[in-house]
């Protein structure tokens, strides 16, 4: 019987009830922290716990054995018990009809010969019992549609459409921290631990069929069978974009080879080529990987590579144009009819070129109007919008200065902040209406996250890119995927 069916994955990510095996009264122990995180994050199903002495933990009366728990109410066991007790534990879970187990327990394949044997036995028993085995030696599982935070680490991210699968538990936390900071949410997240039975590609397969997940984000290292990994990724990308961050990129680069071809074909270049061939977006850093995934999750795909930069100040536009020139994107030359249409909205000192630099010529409605005209033009596939939050930045200074609220400051502060919120909302609305990506970039997203501009971007569910270069990188990655899919 397969332990990797959709029903098994549903038991892991959307369980009717959970039992924490090895619940502890000590707030520093995994058996406490995991129960705490489950209870504190609003999980609506029943929560049970077991431990040796049957004590109460966080208001949950523990049983001393799984056998003593009710039938048919539990789908997932979260295991914090020592390796030596886990075979018996699994057998009891099997009798209860539990379909999925997440093991945090260490002492398996990461711990030498004996651990390898113990892990093999664990897998064999789980297979025999029809239990999906995640881990061991993993940090946990998160599923926002179920308000499930069954992990021994923080945080619990906001809900969204990114599915995370990682060979390293700490990378799950890294991605979730980015999610919390940016507001771009997560559907599912899981640390594969030793991946004894369920591997990162297996989780990604499930995400590809999961209605809650729009994009897969994976961290991998030390891939055992590269050809198999390639085939698995290639089978997934037609139904879901995939972003992969790989560790160990530079290890073993040099290889003794008689041929020049062989010496040029380093491990990392082969991996890079294989991922391109599979339509996978490979990111080199955690933040770049998260931002690529966040873009796929929240922006429409660009149909082509023609970009217009809309900016309220010249310098930013110049740097963004540089970034576009060194990418696979095109800084499109503005057609005459588009020039003429923008002329209607701006005083003559605007750049009359791409980047569209409004040069301070904008009045109350200009930015949304110009953005809409550009997005609606057939020769434009995407917009990068710069300058959000400037007005609110000054508003903050006015508000914090000693003259506030007199001299008309209260009114102008309110105006500035309302305008920035409006621009952010317009960018999202116009993007949705036209089906074209509009990426808003400003360092204020990180420098002053409470600035009403970036805050409003977060409220639309989209990412406020920390710099124009990061927006260009993300847009280029979306374009690569689109080209792969249509090629």
């Amino acid at each position: 019987m397969s332990t990797h069916s959709t029903a098994h994955f549903n038991a892991l990510f959307n369980p009717r009830g959970i039992v924490v095996a090895g619940a502890s009264t000590h707030p520093g122990k995994f058996g406490f922290v995991s129960l705490h995180n489950i209870l504190a994050s609003g999980y609506a199903g029943k929560v049970f716990a077991t431990n040796r002495d049957g004590s109460e933990v966080l208001g949950v009366q523990c049983a001393t054995a799984i056998d003593d728990l009710p039938e048919g109410e539990i789908d997932l066991v979260f295991v914090c018990t020592p390796a030596s007790t886990n075979i018996e534990l699994l057998r009891q879970c099997g009798r209860k009809g539990i379909k999925a187990a997440f093991l945090t327990s260490a002492g398996y394949a990461e711990a030498g010969e004996e651990g390898i044997a113990a892990q093999a036995e664990l897998v064999a028993v789980a297979d025999e019992l029809g239990i999906l085995l995640a881990g061991p030696n993993g940090q946990g599982v998160v599923s926002t549609p179920a308000n499930l935070c069954a992990q021994i680490v923080a945080p619990f991210p906001p809900a969204g459409r990114i599915g995370v699968a990682s060979q390293s538990g700490n990378f799950v936390s890294s991605f979730l921290n980015w999610s919390r900071q940016t507001g771009v949410g997560i559907s599912r997240a899981v640390s594969a631990g030793n991946a004894a039975s369920v591997t990162v590609p297996d989780f990604l397969d499930y995400y590809a069929t999961d209605q809650e997940t729009a994009v897969g984000l994976a961290y991998v290292e030390g891939i055992a069978d590269g050809r198999d990994f390639y085939e698995r990724m290639r089978a997934i990308t037609p139904s879901m974009p995939l972003v992969v961050v790989k560790g160990g990129a530079t290890a073993g680069g040099a290889r003794a080879a008689a041929s020049h071809t062989g010496s040029l074909a380093s491990d990392d270049r082969v991996f890079d080529g294989a991922m391109r061939q599979a339509g996978v977006i490979r990111s080199l850093t955690v933040e770049e990987g998260f931002e690529a995934a966040a873009s796929f999750a929240t922006q429409p795909l660009p149909k082509g590579n023609r970009v217009v930069v809309v900016t309220t100040a010249g310098g930013w536009g110049v740097v963004t144009a540089d970034a576009i020139h060194s990418s696979e994107l095109e800084l499109v030359t503005l057609p005459d009819d588009l020039l003429a249409a923008i002329d209607e909205k701006l005083p003559p000192r605007w750049s009359r070129n791409n980047p569209v630099d409004m040069a301070g010529g904008e009045t109350r409605d200009t930015i949304p109007e110009v953005m809409e005209i550009i997005a609606n033009h057939e020769s434009v596939d995407a917009i990068v919008y710069l300058g959000l939050g400037i007005q609110s930045n000054q508003a903050r200074m006015l508000r914090e200065g000693r003259f506030y609220p007199d001299h008309g400051l209260e009114r102008i502060v309110e105006f500035h902040e309302r305008q920035d919120r409006r621009y952010a909302t317009a960018a999202a609305d116009i993007s949705e209406a036209t089906g074209k990506p509009i990426l808003t970039a400003t360092e204020l997203g990180t420098a002053d996250p409470n600035n009403p501009g970036p805050a409003a971007v977060r409220e639309t569910g989209r990412l406020c890119y920390g710099s124009a270069n990061r927006a260009v990188t993300a847009l280029e990655q979306m374009w690569r995927y689109q080209r792969y899919m249509s090629g």
Partner: protein, 220 residues
Amino acid sequence: MTTLSEAASKALLAPHGVPFLEERICADVDAAVNAGSDLGYPVVAKLNGDAIAHKTERGLVRLGLGDADALGRAAGELLEAATPEDGEVTVLVAPMVSSNREFICGVSTDPQFGKTVLLGVGGILAEAIADVSIRLAPITDRDAHSMIDELRTSDLLGEFRGSPAVDRDALVRLLVGLSSVVEAEPQIAAIDLNPVLIVDGQPVAVDALVETTNVAETAS
């Protein structure tokens, strides 16, 4: 691992669409000189044999031979330079072509990913520049196009210093040809086409080295 001679390597690859120059395999000096007058001067002469992998390093390639005298002298020297370890040797005579653009193409076997096809910018700085793109075999035309696009110096493929643009489709055929060779001949572990010159816009491999896993030895 066994290497094939340049001539045997080319004979294996040519039916799969890898473009080579017309060249002659000559057993002795007289045959070489006849080949030279057939092909027209200037020509290149190279020592050819199964065990000869690094011809340039051993001085076994003679370029720009302008007439029968020069060719005859070079062919004689090459045959004399052969050592007993080289086994049976011949002299390859080929037209001398020149190009301002060099690429390297080939196949190698990765321990994790298996057979891979590579395209790179060639020349003496190839390994330092390392502007290469790689795909897993087998590759499609589309894969080959994306390999070409991926090169950082893909400007080299356009019109360049008075030379016409590279025939992209011909380069695609070459790369897909390499892939089809290793599909058809699984004993091939590596192929080196170094350099692939661009002559009048057409890619042409002027050297070839095929390495095979030693099937005969494994079998016996």
